[in-house]
């Protein structure tokens, strides 16, 4: 569906994308990961034909994005980082306007607006002025405009940024329900979101694709190493002695207060958790917590980005 070949983008002298190449098939859900300024938004803007690439080419469904941009825009639904909303319009009027611009046939326009509003659960606010809506609703209106013409490719730039956990969950469920036959590209800083929604991950750093793998493969690789948090009450020395005894357990960091000690650990294998626990129960310490430090994807992401820095 998407074929990008050596895409490079300069802003002035600054290289924002550096020979990015990838292919995305129909129906794939791909997560773009990367820190701020990595080039994710620029890449998405090139895919939507909002920005031209400085060099390289990209085609969507066989249409060259630069040369056949109108044809490309007909099959792409795009939600920018800040939902592009006309605040003084009502939800329904805005979606009707979007439908007209996106070539939805006049006869189907009303039906399509109704369908999208119920899909995005906007019926209860259809006559409300967008400016008066909560951030979660605004985000849903943004998604609704992106899918108003049933695009075969959906590009969502940080669709859950700034939302509270409940809104976050609602928007994430909405995206999950949109999958069906669509190809979805999603960029986010919330890595657990990618773990739940995407099937493939592209980690972008300084304009280059560091990793482009299926999520399951990436997690399998990262599952060999696991970071844990251990929180205990009692003698710190006892815990340190146990950690020294067990091979393949690395103590990354320790934070102590008068009563409690917090250990960041890296275990070479998940099986070592049992060994560690069985040793600790024989010591004069009270185990308050032993839990995974971060999500595995987050761990992989951070280690890959840092690895590259080194």
């Amino acid at each position: 569906m998407i074929k990008a070949h050596e895409l490079t983008k300069y802003f002035g002298r600054q290289k924002v994308l550096d020979q990015v190449s990838f292919e995305i098939g129909k129906g794939e859900i791909v997560g773009f990961l990367g820190s701020n300024g990595a080039g994710k938004t620029t890449l998405m803007r090139i895919l939507t034909s909002f920005l031209p690439a400085s060099s390289g080419d990209v085609s969507i469904n066989g249409f060259d994005v630069a040369k056949k941009s109108l044809a490309v825009r007909q099959i792409v639904g795009y939600l920018p980082e800040n939902p592009p909303l006309y605040l003084s319009m009502t939800v329904k009027d805005y979606l009707k306007f979007a439908a007209k611009l996106k070539d939805v046939a006049a006869k189907q326009c009303s039906a399509q607006v109704e369908k999208v509003m119920s899909e995005c659960r906007l019926k209860d606010v259809e006559h409300k002025v967008i400016a008066t809506l909560s951030k979660g609703y605004k985000q849903r209106v943004g998604i609704a405009q992106a899918i108003i013409n049933d695009p075969s490719l959906l590009i969502l730039d940080e669709p859950t940024s700034g939302l509270d956990p409940v809104q976050n969950l609602q928007v994430r469920n909405l995206i999950k329900n949109l999958e069906s036959e669509r190809t979805v590209i999603l960029s986010t800083h919330i890595l657990s979101e990618i773990e739940q929604v995407a099937k493939r991950v592209m980690i972008i750093k300084e304009g280059k694709v560091l990793v482009d793998e299926r999520l399951s493969d990436l997690l399998t690789k990262s599952s060999a190493q696991k970071r844990m948090v251990l929180r205990v009450k009692g003698e710190k020395k006892c815990v340190e002695t146990v950690l020294e005894k067990i091979n393949d357990v690395c103590l990354l960091n320790t934070v102590s207060s008068s009563q409690e000690h917090h250990f960041d650990l890296e275990l070479a294998d998940e099986k070592l958790i049992h060994e560690l626990l069985s040793c600790l129960v024989n010591e004069p310490v009270q185990i308050l917590e032993m839990s995974p430090a971060v999500s595995r994807l987050e761990h992989t992401f951070v280690s890959m980005v840092n690895e590259n820095n080194d």
């Binding site: 034909s49 909002f50 825009r73 795009y78 800040n82 979007a98 007209k100 611009l101 405009q145």
Partner: protein
């Protein structure tokens, strides 16, 4: 065409959803009302010629206020990204926005017909001069709107857009004051580029090809520059 109409409709309803439109309409009508009776009383003549001059002067000040947000606001709020990632041509976007502003400006000009009805009722005005004057006023307004759109396409800051429009309109409107200091080709050029030398013919009931060409060329040129600016994202 559907898209141009959709954008025009959105622009027009946008004007009426903001207090600025009502303020502009109210101020224009009030000033117009006062000047109409002063002029009629002073001239003792059933003509709108001097009233047109007041309206032209008002346009210099109100058009930048109306057009400053047309593109600048879209860029500042990010809706420009929405517009430009829909399958809509840049020409359709520019024309839709131009027609939206033009229709609003035409509404302002429409106020004139109330006063025309008054002088028609109480006197016998020169109808040709009145209608050609209205046409001249409308063409001048359309040119100012096109220039306002062009300036709005240069920046994401509404104030900057308004100031740029004011600068251009002041040059076009007040260039008449420079005419007496200049002679030869430069003098002729300044005289031709100013709007005054063209609208005065319309007000006198004279519709010349040269004057119509001046306005139409100015409008088309401004809209082409606008399209070029948004096509090349020159506001970045």
């Amino acid at each position: 065409m559907t898209k141009i109409f959709a954008i025009t409709q959105k622009e027009l309803s946008g004007y009426f959803r903001s207090p600025m439109a009502y303020i502009v309409l109210l101020v224009t009508m009030s000033i117009f009302h006062v000047f109409f009776f002063i002029i009629i009383d002073h001239n003792q003549e059933a003509t709108l010629r001097d009233v047109f001059a007041v309206m032209e002067f008002l346009f210099v000040f109100i058009v930048p206020l109306l057009t400053m947000k047309v593109f600048a606001e879209e860029k500042a709020t990010g809706t420009m990204e929405f517009l430009m990632t829909t399958p809509t041509t840049n020409t359709a976007i520019v024309l839709g926005k131009f027609f939206g502003s033009l229709i609003f400006m035409t509404t302002i000009i429409g106020v004139i017909f109330v006063y025309y009805a008054i002088i028609e009722f109480y006197g016998s005005p020169d109808r040709l001069a009145t209608f050609s004057g209205i046409l001249g006023l409308w063409l001048e307004g359309a040119l100012f709107v096109a220039i306002g759109l062009m300036a709005s396409s240069w920046t994401r800051n509404q104030m900057v857009a308004a100031i740029c429009t004011y600068l251009i309109l002041f040059m076009l409107y007040f260039s008449v004051t420079l005419e007496k200091f200049l002679s030869g080709t430069l003098g002729a050029l300044v005289s031709y580029s100013g709007v005054w030398s063209h609208t005065k013919n319309f007000s006198a009931g004279l519709i010349t090809l040269s004057d119509v060409t001046y306005f139409v060329t100015g409008i088309v040129l401004s809209l082409l520059i606008t399209r070029y600016c948004i096509e090349n994202r020159l506001w970045r």
